[in-house]
Amino acid sequence: MAEVAERRERATARDIARRVLRYENATLGIILAVLVAVFAVVTGGKSVRIPNVRMIAVEGATMGVGAIGQLFVMLTAGIDLSVAGIAFGTGALGASMMCTEVWRNILVMHHILGYTEPASIWVGVPAALFMGAGFGVISGLLVSRIGVPPFIATLGMWQIAHGTGFMITGGFTIPHLIDPFRLFGQGFIYGFPVAGIIWIVVAVIAYFVLNYTSYARAVYATGSNPVSAWLSGINVRRTQLSVYIIAGLTAALGGLIRASRVMAVSDASFDGLELQTIACAVVGGTSLFGGKGTVVGVVLGSVIISVILNAMTILRADPFLESLVLGVIVIVAVGIDYWRGR
């Protein structure tokens, strides 16, 4: 009898571990904790000091907000490669409107919009977000109405948005933005960075939308089987369109946060952002085939990637190593996802 009881207990302990590990987010949390501990030791505690944690929140916000838009697109079995292009295009528009220096190339913007003074953030920021949504509408229409594969539609949109940004900036860096714009990337509320707060707010809204609304059902259903979703009365086309608009908005918001952090926009500001957001989503357990993924997972994935990139900066790793690690992470994360799915 005693033997049996013992055996059962042992099985339970193992079972608990197995159950915890079955929750992907628990696994991710454990990985994150281990990474934070390891980096804290390796950097001699530098990585866990308050200023650095704030830095991670600010640096990660651009990627993290963009990754939430990426999650919506990937849930419908799409992929958004236009994140970096949209962030630059919209950032360029916002920056050129809010720039205190009126250059020749930016003058064009001011002529079109009739400004003689830089716009306030209440005009510049909504304009940038609106433009992001507009780019999203175009790629969304291409995907949902014509049936262009998402990656081609967004690859093309990336070029178009990047070109639009180039047209606005004329290829120059736009510095000297109006001072109130500093808030998004450098502001603090009771010691909390505003960028981090924006990230949390976006994540909470996305969590609510994806867990407590009928729209969430439409998104997940469209991703896992568009035909059966259509047959059960879901407007698949409209759902597809909507996720690209969300992705355009989040990309624009991410772009504004980074623009505000460095108070400048240039065409190289957002290099690699699309891969970073994909990495965040994939590490967070989002499936590339749609219908699988959670906001909590994506936020954890974004934090993991931010922590890794931050630690590499502290350790003064070669810039090449950063892209190497990112590439390897994406491939390994996708590989693990497939290996587990088998």
Partner: protein, 330 residues
Amino acid sequence: MAEVVERREQVTFREMARRALRHENAVIGIALAALIGVLGGISRGATVTPGNMANILIQSSVRGVAAVGQAFCILTANFDLSVAGVSVMTMMLGSAMMTTEWTNILGYPASPFMAMPAMLVVGLAWGILNGFLVSRFNMPSLIVTFGMWQIGYAVAYYITEGKAITSLPQSFAVYGALPAGPIIFFSVAAVAYFILNYTSFGRRVYAAGGNPVSAYLSGINVKRMYVIVFAISGFCAALASVVMTSRAMAGSIEGLRGLELDSIASVVIGGVSLFGGRGNMIGVVLGAIIIGVVNNAMSVMHMGHAGQYIVKGAIIIGAVAADILRRRGR
């Protein structure tokens, strides 16, 4: 009677036009000719000078060689986004091997006949790695090659710490100059055309792309096909890098940026379906030249980066959308 004959003749003429238009390559060829004519008119002849035409041909060779490899991938419904990464990597490797200012790899400057095979072998190996990851782990090629693109750039940075390498040996300048560059392009395309149309391997590529399941059921090793097409694409990317390095006579990180997009655009404009199994090499060659003509006209007319980005994005989306709409109409 006379009436009937006349009507029949009319029908025949219309029929001929319709038949010609049904051949995708004829449409693409007509589009190319029209494009050259219109752009020549707009630029008041600046784009159609012999010097500029030669320039277009050489520029198209780099893109075209990469596009031939990309076409093999897309015919099996895969994508190789790592083209720019692997070609930049081999560019930096080759230039580093051939110069004295950066001799950490060998310790002495290698001759082009040593550097070029090294570049091609690295490209081939990179492609095999891509194919291995895609076929053995069943991962989507889009993501795998996107990651490998990033890694390729990282290795390129590592080789030279991001610096440009100049002063390559003069004997290397041949491969990107006028006769050799286009000859490489056309001979690669001709070999690919032959392989795709007259060998059982080519038929198997189409079968694996058209319907992988039925191809597998009819005894084709689909996974091995994937490895081979990615190997071809990696090799072609390295070959494109040889032509480009020789043309620029320098290795730089920015030298081949956007090659993956250009090669996909060439393939798509050439009428190859993104869903696999449909398309041919002649279309790809024409597609590469069309992109070359458009790119060149934009820089001759000083349209700047902005216009080039926007036009290229619109071309890619437009070509794919046209392909889808036309197939839906059938």
